[in-house]
Amino acid sequence: MEQYAVEMLHITKRFPGIIANDDITLQLKKGEIHALLGENGAGKSTLMSVLFGLYTPEEGEIRMDGQAVKIRNPNDANARGIGMVHQHFKLVECFTVLDNIIMGVEPTNKLGFLQKKHAREKVLAMSEKYGLHVNPDALISDITVGMQQRTEILKMLYRENDILIFDEPTAVLTPQEIDELMQIMKNLAAEGKSILFISHKLNEIMAVADRCSVLRKGKYIGTVEIKNTTKAELSRMMVGRDVKFAVDKEEAKPADVVMDVQHMTVASKQHDNDAVRDVSFQVRRGEIVCIAGIDGNGQSELVFGVTGLEPLKSGKITMCGQDITKAPIRKRSTSGMSHIPEDRHKHGLVLDYTLEDNMVLQRYFEPQFTNGIGFLKRGAIHAYAEKLIDQYDVRSGQGAVTVARSMSGGNQQKAIIAREIDKDPELLVAVQPTRGLDVGAIEYIHQQIVAQRDAGKAVLLVSLELDEVMNVSDRILVMYEGEIVGEFDPKKVTVEELGLYMAGAKREGVAQ
């Protein structure tokens, strides 16, 4: 008989109007890496919340080492050796790595003074053993995201957890960091830790997992051995139909220039160096220009400069022949710029507004939605929102009057995309439009972006996902430390080549 570290048998958890987990069984073997795959809303989070004692399931039981157990709260889960690395790290920024690791289980002597020396030795030994390189004395705010994640992993190990849950751990990492993480996970499994790896990135699951359980719309679809399966089969299980990985698109037919950026420099909020340095590029009608690069190399600031969220230090931006260098945001928007922002919660939506109020966020002042004396035309707003919801298949609990906060991330993103595309822009600026979304939604959003291009719009896409960069774009500009270090045709360049430019190992002698 197989030895299971954790078994969740026939778990059913219902919420009003929805069965979040419908008879789900998940068996985690000792020392294996078990992937949990599913789209957003498939029930992965609910299942993990059940395992952590945040929810009590109506049916089913949890067994550990063959014994039925009741997990009442997260402390219970911790005491039983279950640890989790959350997608958004739970670290104290102004504490050191070591302080964060020992937090909550601080070693003290009888008088209550901290005894960090022993803890430090233990942490160093662990980081040696598993290849988790950290500097225990560095402040969290000073270290890279990858190192922060290793700190989170060490936190679990320090607590001697044997069951480690990774919730979409690669979403924030660079390609190199992802490779390192994969190696660390393998090391941990080899040392007898059992790992549950929540993801919807098929490449990573194929690369690292031993087995994979798939959920779809709250139902358990099945568990497969990774060595006996393919990416296509996994995605079919996850989405329920065949998914195209390559984006269908015709050859680009670039026409006249829509946006011309000359010698743009944007200051940084983090440091004294400029975030964007003397960048020049053009975007034409009917082409998708993609800014590729590792996170934090000035892409965000480049978009802030283009869209008007930050002022330029120097340089000039022209859109459709108009100088918009100093134009306010509203002017840019009404002259034909649409912006799908990087951070949908910070910029893209007023989360406490209803979906319909969010749908008109860029157009509420137009005569069709506001009458001459400043009253909103509620009926028109509602009808318009219903139209977009229908057209772009935005799903929500109560339709147009759903509060945006209560919607799933994918549908929030769809709402933003619907709003920005329906504005019928000349230039669409899309920043990481598929971040955190599942395969089905990504495919849909890519289709929409290509459709915009084919309709003769100019598209400026900023992406950290190399797959996206290679599949969607017609022209690639690589950004490194605030500068454009290379321009490529996606059909003539390899991912490896791009990686070298992104990492700053190579650059074109004289750009343009």
């Binding site: 945001i329 910029h347 909103l376």
Partner: protein, 381 residues
């Protein structure tokens, strides 16, 4: 039957009302316990006299008269609560309403007494003075990133002492007392007109059109916040400053504008009190009048809705007046303030009780969902 009961509970307004009532009940209960501790024999008598307020008076005429007085003082309180809730909807806590109210009092009385202006000019001056002080808070917030609470508290004291100074000038202050001259004597045209409303309230002369004006302002605030483009922009700025900026709204201008309007509302509140002639300004006063602070409590007790504020303002004024009826031979004079302040204190729990009601509903839904499904399965079998 039970089903109907639960569906009523689901309305936001009903939840707010229920939560507010729970707060009031809690305040009364704690007040009653305090009374019991001090002197058990008179406790029941005292608490009922607070609640009965003017209904204790023997004749219908007297009751009407005191109802009129209560309403007269409700109007400025309502204005202060509107000031607080307006700023709150745009994400700012206008504790400076108290100072804006003081500035309004200063402007109204000075213009009325020194320049013998008609009442509406005095009121306009009060509105402008309040708006000006509000704008200072708003600008400090947008240009220097000073928290509105901090600047509000500071400005409250600045407004108080400037007002004491301005109203102490010759010709404005009564030379025989620390109070300002009586508006009724110096400039009767500075009094808000009664338009016959006083005849409805046993000829109580303080009853003026201030009362309907305040109610109209509550409705105007509700309309602005919920029906206009302006309200849409302001609330968007309050909920998410960054999204407002992203969508091209003038986010900083919106914040200053909001604080100006909030200040104007509080300033107008002061005009509604001091231009009825029932009170003069005491130029030696060394504490900021409580009206503005009570506006905060009223705004929360009213569930942050302009319409709810009307009811809440009346209730707070009702028990404040009722506090005057407590038998002072049994309890010390402060006891009435204690009971009303306990209720005001408990007002802060409206949101808490609302959450409790929502959680209760959610739990019941979950239980119902759990119960319904197996039954359905049984039907199929």
């Amino acid at each position: 039957m039970k089903k109907k009961h639960s569906s009523i509970l689901r309305f936001e307004g009903v939840q707010t009302l229920l939560a507010s009532l729970l707060c009031i009940l809690g305040g009364l209960l704690i007040g009653f316990i305090v009374l019991l501790i001090i002197e058990p024999s008179g406790a029941w008598e005292a608490i009922t006299s607070v609640l009965e307020s003017y209904f204790r008076y023997p004749s219908a005429k007297l009751q009407l008269k005191y109802l009129g007085q209560t309403l007269t003082r409700t109007a400025p309180l309502l204005m202060c609560s509107l000031s607080v809730l307006f700023a709150y909807k745009v994400g700012m806590f206008n504790i400076g309403a108290a100072g804006q109210y003081v500035a309004g009092a200063c402007a109204a009385l000075y213009v009325g007494i020194a320049f013998h202006m008609p009442w509406w000019v005095c009121m306009l001056a009060a509105i402008l003075a309040g708006a000006l002080l509000g704008a200072v808070s708003g600008m400090l917030k947008t240009f220097c990133n000073v928290n509105v609470v901090i600047s509000g508290i500071m400005l409250n004291w600045i407004a108080l002492y400037v007002t004491n100074m301005v109203l102490s000038t010759e010709g404005v202050k009564n030379p025989m007392s620390p109070y300002t001259m009586q508006l009724r004597g110096v400039n009767p045209g500075g009094l808000i007109p009664q338009m016959g409303l006083n005849t409805l309230f046993g000829n109580e002369k303080s009853v003026t059109i201030a009362i309907p004006l305040a109610i109209i302002m509550a409705i105007v605030v509700w309309v602005i916040l919920n029906k206009t483009k302006f309200g849409y922009e302001l609330k968007a700025t309050g909920y998410n400053y960054h999204a407002a900026k992203y969508s091209g709204m003038k986010e900083n201008q919106n914040i200053i504008m909001t604080m100006m309007i909030a200040g104007a509302l509080a300033g107008m509140g002061a005009a509604l009190l001091y231009l009825t002639g029932i009170e003069e300004w005491e130029t030696t006063i060394s504490s900021v009048p409580a009206m503005g602070f009570n506006g905060i409590a009223v705004a929360f007790l009213g569930g942050l809705s302009p319409i709810g504020s009307i009811l809440a303002a009346y209730f707070i004024q009702h028990i404040t007046m009722g506090g005057g009826n407590v038998d002072l031979s049994v309890y010390c004079a402060q006891i009435s303030s204690l009971i009303s302040s306990l209720i005001i204190f408990l007002c802060a729990f409206v949101a808490f009780f609302k959450l409790a009601i929502k959680n209760h509903l959610r739990k019941r839904d979950e239980a119902a969902a759990a119960a319904a499904l197996p039954k359905k399965g049984g039907d199929n079998a």
